[in-house]
Symmetry: C2
């Protein structure tokens, strides 16, 4: 994730994992550390392209990670430490999440600068 929140991505096609989640907010312990660790682990995975994330004050958030190919997503899903953190997410942090795997076919942007 770049400092301004936007991922720097190549031209499509590539893949996106859209992760929408609601945190219940009762247990903050370890969440920020785990999220940072997840990001660091993902960045070291082959095929990882970037990540964008936003969460509102009410606990609803969307994280989109971008990947070069489907195999990279499957490999990340099987990653041992990732599995452990996912399990902790269900146990301690999330009430509900939805995950969608999508192939990005076209993209464009706009910047005031």
């Amino acid at each position: 994730m770049a400092g301004d929140g936007f991922a720097s991505l190549p031209k499509p096609p590539y893949y996106a994992v859209i992760f929408a989640s609601r945190r219940h907010g009762d247990d903050d312990s370890g969440y920020a550390e785990a999220a940072a660790e997840m990001t660091a682990l993902a960045q070291r995975q082959p095929g990882f392209l970037g990540m964008e994330s936003a969460r509102d004050a009410a606990g609803f958030g969307i994280t989109v990670s971008y990947w070069a190919c489907e195999q990279a997503i499957l490999d990340w899903r099987q990653h041992a430490e990732h599995r452990l953190i996912r399990e902790r997410g269900r146990q301690d942090w999330y009430d509900h999440y939805e995950l969608r795997v999508a192939k990005v076919e076209r993209a464009y942007g706009w910047n005031r600068e």
Copy 2:
């Protein structure tokens, strides 16, 4: 958008428009109204399936809208009022945005309930 933030979607395949944006925050006038109007307009478009959105306190946000097919996205892009609100977005509210059109191939969720 459902009350809990999650879109209720059919089984894939369907399409997602991932809109990541940074607001500069100088001009709040009309933003909430325009966002609500955009959502209401989109909901009346043929092929609209749902929407999820989150923005953090620093002004970085992600909105994902879901559509039955590519034609529905192209029609929405050409919608006259949508074009006007987009123009206003570039003029008044956003510093930067990135838009990605993707085909959702698989999806799954988890709920504590």
